[in-house]
């Protein structure tokens, strides 16, 4: 099971946090501080895994952004790396070559997408197309309510249908 997902920038700024296990606000801050201290200082050629408080944190850096997922000690780290990559690919497909700014300004979209990939800490959907379609369906429905034409998400969503 995945306990939490963190997106941290190279400067240690938090871009997204999703907690599947219960952590109080105080613990969350502590976790983020501790982990960004460990992960951001790691060299480029080392493993993408860190053992931390009896759990394992798998991280991967994409440009200036670190994607981190914390799993149980008996999890398959390579699989988690691929889940991270899977998420990035879906983000990329959704935003159309995604960059950090997309996530900074549209963090809620990133959350919606994450909700389609992971649910209560488990991988819910391995099919990229299905996820994009699900998110697009929500968006397009939203747009019939509110006339938000011209949004890139609609264009992408319609194109990928």
């Amino acid at each position: 099971m995945i306990h939490f997902v963190l997106l941290i920038s190279r400067q240690g700024k938090v871009r997204l946090t999703k907690w599947y296990s219960t952590y109080s606000q105080k613990e969350r801050t502590k976790v983020i501080r501790e982990l960004s201290g460990v992960i951001l200082t790691r060299g480029p050629k080392l493993c993408n895994f860190v053992e931390w408080r009896g759990l394992k944190v798998v991280y991967k850096r994409y440009a200036s952004l670190y994607f981190c997922m914390c799993i149980d000690p008996d999890g398959n780290e390579l699989e988690i790396l691929e889940i991270i990559h899977h998420y990035v690919e879906v983000l990329d497909r959704y935003f159309g070559s995604v960059c950090e700014l997309d996530l900074i300004y549209n963090f809620h979209k990133a959350y919606y997408i994450l909700d389609e990939i992971l649910i209560s800490g488990e991988l819910q959907e391995p099919g990229k197309r299905t996820i994009v379609r699900a998110v697009a369906a929500q968006d397009s429905l939203v747009e019939t309510v509110k006339e938000q034409t011209g949004s890139i998400s609609t264009i992408i969503a319609q194109a990928s249908k």
Partner: protein, 938 residues
């Protein structure tokens, strides 16, 4: 240009994000967020806020909460938002509550009703949003409120809904297994769902269920195998392919389930062999996902009933992992090796150099994983090298969590495989010295118990040697400043019990040291209490031995101080000490018998020793004691005793006594009294070791000898039989003993990997290279004496005694002959390589340590130190970028795309523009390292 400017957020919100992006320090960021919180608090409670505005406020709340600030003032508005009719607003509300609320939050009760309504909605998107919230928010109490609806949704026409409903049930199962226990058939049914996504989701709850109770799901083995076969043969739609692998995530999940089902079940395992073998062949080991599946295959193979062919494939895969340049694969290889080694121990040997490389790698993660592997393969032959390495590493790290773990591992290994008492005590000393306050107090109690009981054999000589060496080393160690409290407790206790036992140290020496301890750690009451009790014991032993007690002046002043102590415990101990000193020899012997910490204390609850005294008193005309219940009735002296026994059995009795029955009193020595007199009761307070001993006993018994298998320690037949015996049960103490018996020559640590490898692996596998004699001498002589007590190892004793006496093992002793004999397969070139590698590794290690020294990145990055400037361009990028109006160079450089596949963007104009920016960035010297694209897709 979807990214810049976001999706229709107000200028205000964009400015907020921008200013936080530009914040130079954590303090500045906090200031911005705090003023934002003020604004929101004011705005959000205004009446008649338009929905769209409200939605944005909620998102801003999410944002500040994400940054670690408290946004609880707005939770209620997020909850209200879930009630909204429009999906747009509702979705935001659900997102916010799932992020804000933990499952035990009070507000959840307000959402349950909405969720119930939404689960019934015609619009499947509403249902999905509600199910997402269910997974996060529904707790044990509220499960019944939504359970019927969730179950109904399992038959929903939309696969997305079915999938989420399955996951919700899975979550319910995790929270309260009993709530869904009647629904398990639904999971089985969903396994046959037409949609692979739903089937894949069903594997999650099934995995948990099977892990709980394997036997009820054995009938599914065939189904899982056939699903896995179909997946591997690409029968699923292309949509599930991931990097040319057919549905790898489903494969991994299935392999995990098969590993559970096949564990220890030959029949079930046999049905899996073909499909697992196929996957081994089909996996593309050049891609990461292929390796993830391969790794899962290895885990599966090492868990199910062993099959030689599969084990060979697994071994091949492991060697590919270990030989890879990627640290990730090396890590997985080490992990997989640790799994496979349980089944085929000989596999470790082929990879010894790779393992040593990993051990010396500057990467901490890899190093720790390797220590874990070493821990799994420790046996009596290599325990010294391994534990020594572990302690070395333990001293070098600051991470308390891991320090604790590695310390307890050292202790466990030392207890199990200790080659000699001397070594054991020294190892424990090191562990306690460097990680004393981190280790569990039980470990300290265990150590005291071990010293007190010896190693459970009936050889008093060896035990007393153990104690003397402990006392000696402790007296020495006490000279060092700042010892951990736990360690001091052990020291004080041992000094008290055995400080003067062997006559090597005089009472005044030991008491002097104890007084020093009490003085130096005067703020630590526990240590002081231990010290005072130890003093009492030593004085008592002195008195019992008929010597005159001269209290040292510092001791006297200590006593005076403690007699007036604020701590009642210390005060009592001091008074007790004072009282004991005043007693005569006989009394002291009774109170403080020498070395009696292991004796069971018998408590005479009948107080029979008072009988004579009572008799005397009665004869002098005193009234006999009448139990309260009988005071009004007739007194029968004969019954009185009987009653008394009865009472002592059950403690306080509040109901009236029955009239005595003649049969009971006539019973000749029934069970009752015996039980009464022999039950060892709680220890006297002055004996600290007994407090933990009951648990400690359990703990020791649980320790298994992990690598003592006959196959793994090929030795002479006699030692084989001994090690086998220890595997087949027997207490840990026993196996430790036996481990001594099978101990092999001392292998030395050198800086050359080959030698280290030899000491870790080589020694075990080449039995023919090992001379039959002359190698067990390193054992302390006490062991030989001791061994003669063990009847079936007498065969071994003879050659041992014949061998010339050698000094005790020196870890640094470079015995050339031993090295060559243990590592005969290594050629000189490899040794050279090894040398080179070590130096490189050492260099790398140096640089790594310096790099990792920066304590808090955040602080460093925010601070205006040179490092901050170093990172300036990145920060600038960001700030430049976050300003939507700026699309110049700075903006361009800050647009490193997260993914390389620009063609994927369906808007050609957009992707073109982004490409241009990237190119610009590539030539821009102030930009980030262009290498980052290596990290990107593909």
């Amino acid at each position: 240009m979807g990214s810049q400017g976001g999706f229709y957020q107000s200028k205000e919100f964009l400015d907020l994000v921008k200013s936080i992006g530009e914040a130079r320090s954590k303090a500045e960021e906090d200031r911005i967020v705090l003023s934002e919180i003020e604004t929101l608090k004011r705005r959000i409670s205004e009446p008649d806020i338009p929905k769209r505005k409200m939605k944005e406020y909620i998102l801003r709340l999410v944002y500040i909460e994400m940054l670690g600030h408290d946004a609880s003032f707005g939770y209620i508005h997020a909850v209200k938002m879930t009630h909204d009719d429009s999906l747009l607003v509702k979705r935001t509300g659900y997102l916010a509550v799932t992020l804000f609320l933990n499952e035990d939050h009070d507000l959840i009760i307000l959402i349950v009703n909405t969720i119930q309504k939404d689960l019934k909605s015609d619009n499947y998107l509403v249902v999905c949003a509600a199910l997402n919230a269910v997974c996060k928010l529904i707790n044990e109490e509220t499960i019944p409120a939504v359970l019927p609806q969730v179950v109904e949704l399992l038959g929903h026409p939309k696969e997305a809904v079915r999938k989420k409903a399955i996951m919700a049930l899975h979550r319910f199962y995790q929270k309260s297994p009993s709530s869904v226990s009647h629904l398990i058939s639904n999971f089985r049914k969903r396994l046959c769902d037409n949609d692979p996504g739903v089937m894949g989701a069903t594997l999650c709850p099934l995995f948990d269920l099977i892990a709980q109770d394997v036997n009820s799901y054995k009938d599914l083995v065939i189904s899982f195998v056939s699903i896995l076969k179909q997946v591997a043969e690409r029968r699923l739609s292309k949509a599930y392919d991931y990097h040319q692998m057919p549905a790898p995530f489903i494969q991994i999940k299935l392999l995990k389930i098969l590993a559970l089902l096949g564990s220890g079940d030959k029949q079930a395992s046999e049905t899996m062999y073909t499909v697992v073998g196929d996957i081994f062949k089909k996996c593309d080991s050049s891609s990461n996902i292929g390796n993830a599946v391969l790794y899962e295959c290895i885990c599966c193979v090492s868990s199910i009933y062993p099959n030689t062919k599969l084990l060979d494939s697994a071994a091949d895969a492991i060697s590919r992992f270990l030989k890879s340049d990627s640290h990730n694969l090396k890590y997985m290889g080490i992990d997989a090796l640790g799994r496979l080694i349980k089944i085929s121990p000989e596999i470790a040997e082929q990879h010894q150099l790779a393992v040593i490389d990993c051990l010396e790698d500057p990467d901490d993660t890899l190093k720790r994983k390797t220590f874990e592997l070493l821990y799994k393969m420790t046996k009596s032959t290599n325990v010294e090298v391994i534990v020594d390495r572990m302690i070395g590493y333990m001293i070098s790290i600051n991470d308390n969590h891991y320090k604790t773990e590695i310390a307890s591992r050292c202790v466990e290994l030392a207890e199990q495989f200790a080659p000699s008492n001397q070594w054991f005590i020294q190892t424990m000393n090191k562990v306690f010295e460097h990680a004393g306050d981190l280790v569990n107090i039980k470990i300290a109690h265990n150590l005291m118990r071990l010293i007190a009981e010896g190693f459970g054999e009936d050889d008093d000589n060896a035990d007393s040697k153990l104690r003397s060496s402990a006392v000696e080393s402790y007296l020495h160690i006490l000279g060092e400043p700042k010892l951990p409290s736990v360690f001091l407790q052990v020291i004080c206790w041992v000094l008290g019990e055995y400080g003067t036992a062997d006559g090597m140290f005089s009472a005044s020496d030991v008491t002097g040291k104890l007084c020093d301890v009490a003085e130096a750690y005067s703020s630590n009451e526990t240590v002081k209490a231990y010290a005072v009790t130890a003093l009492m014991k030593i004085y008592a032993f002195e008195i019992a031995a008929g010597r005159k007690v001269d209290m040292l002046p510092e001791c006297q002043s200590l006593m005076e101080e403690l007699l007036a102590s604020h701590s009642t415990d210390l005060q009592q101990r001091a008074y007790e000490l004072q009282a004991v000193i005043g007693l005569d020899v006989h009394a002291v012997e009774c109170i403080m018998p020498l070395d009696a910490s292991c004796e069971d204390i018998e408590v005479d609850k009948g107080l029979s020793f008072l009988d004579g005294y009572i008799q005397e008193a009665i004869e002098k005309g005193a009234q006999p004691y009448i139990p309260e219940s009988e005071r009004s009735g007739l007194i029968n002296m004969g019954n009185f005793r009987n009653q008394n026994h009865h009472e002592s059995l059950h403690g306080l009795r509040f109901e009236a006594y029955e009239l005595p029955k003649p049969a009971e009193s006539a019973e000749p020595e029934p069970m009752y009294p015996r039980e009464t007199y022999q039950t060892p009761v709680s220890p006297i307070p002055s004996n600290p070791s007994d407090a933990g001993s009951a648990e400690l006993k359990l703990r020791l018994d649980g320790v298994q000898q992990k690598w003592g298998r006959p196959t793994y320690t090929p030795e002479t037949s006699t030692s084989n039989s001994t090690s086998q015996k220890s595997v087949n049960g027997a207490s840990a103490v026993n196996s430790t003993r036996e481990a001594y018996a099978s101990r092999k020559p001392q292998v030395e640590i050198s800086h050359e990997k080959q030698k280290l490898a030899a000491s870790l692996f080589g020694g075990t596998s080449k039995p023919e290279k090992r001379p039959a004699t002359g190698h067990k001498v390193s054992k302390a002589s006490s062991h030989m004496v001791e061994k003669s007590h063990v009847p079936n190892s007498s065969m071994e004793v003879a050659p041992e005694k014949a061998a010339p006496a050698q000094p005790p093992p020196d870890l640094l002793d470079l015995g050339e002959p031993t090295a060559t004999s243990t590592a005969p397969s290594l050629d000189p070139f490899k040794q050279l390589e090894g040398l080179l590698d070590t130096t490189q590794d050492a260099l790398a290690a140096n640089s790594a340590t310096t790099a990792s020294r920066s304590p808090d990145v955040m602080a460093l990055l925010y601070a205006d130190t040179p490092i901050g400037i170093h990172n300036k361009d990145d920060a600038d990028l960001l700030s430049g970028l976050s300003n939507p109006s700026v699309t110049n160079m700075a903006g361009a450089t800050a647009r490193p795309r997260l993914s390389q596949s620009s063609s994927k963007g369906s808007n050609p104009k957009d992707s073109l523009e982004k490409d241009a920016l990237v190119r610009q960035m590539g030539v821009n010297p102030s930009s980030q390292n262009p290498n980052m694209f290596k990290d990107l897709l593909g």
